[in-house]
Symmetry: none
DNA sequence: CTTGACTCTGACGTCAACGTGAAGGTTTAG
DNA sequence: CTAAACCTTCACGTTGACGTCAGAGTCAAG
């Protein structure tokens, strides 16, 4: 398929898809005219990219992560354990932040209750 | 203390500290010379800012959240004592932020589990 | 009273992750 | 055959969270 169809099938803008290629995340084939040609695997690849972005990773980190996330298109690299480490750390930081926010919300609830009693 | 010491004590650059002030997150006193003067409470405030930033919140969101994060250190801004309605809105926004972070973390958990199976 | 560390205010630079638009070539539906 | 739809590269714009000077004022110590 060409870039327009991939865009529709993934919900990712054409501009973003070209940008992902520029960053080394996608490597579509080319027609003599220069048109990019994608395969079905690229649909899955784009979705993985999106999931990782949604998880707060940067494209640079994703470039490093993709070889580890193979379903069939390559080999596991030694960078994998490090990657898992990074992901776990990232998750833990998010967990801390959630804890902070929950404490904040509890504080806020106390204040609201106090003000209701006072007012 | 002045900005240099706050920077050392928090590990946050002086530029960042001035930026936080510019964005309304810090309100240090000033000497006649213009030098910023911070208190111990600001050390805690900066750490909270960093935790929230690490969680992926923007400074704008943090600006909205900080007034509600009272520990008793005088960080109350006019919006807080004002209306319980405001506080409830703030609390709900915090709740939304928690929800987003939890979704992000769930994403990460899925990825981590998948990679562990693969590796 | 001068040195050297510290601080101030601009103001431009950067990086990420795209968006937007120009100027023009290609493919396809009717 | 033509117009729409799609494609190309080039290149500047945007937002967020700062970095990095420049040029000038401030302050504690010798």
């Amino acid at each position: 398929m060409r870039i327009g169809e991939l865009s529709r099938r993934t919900g990712v803008s054409e501009r973003a898809l070209r940008y992902y290629e520029e960053q080394g995340l996608l490597r579509p084939q080319r027609r003599p005219s220069g048109y990019r040609v994608y395969g079905d695997a690229d649909v899955a690849a784009v979705r993985r990219i999106r999931v990782l972005l949604a998880a707060g990773l940067t494209l640079a980190q994703i470039v490093a992560a993709l070889p580890c996330m193979v379903d069939d298109d390559g080999l596991l690299l030694p960078s994998c354990p490090e990657l898992v480490d990074e992901l776990v750390k990232h998750r833990d930081r998010i967990g801390e932040a959630i804890g902070e926010l929950e404490a904040t919300r509890a504080n806020l609830d106390t204040i609201i209750a106090a003000e209701r009693r006072a007012g």
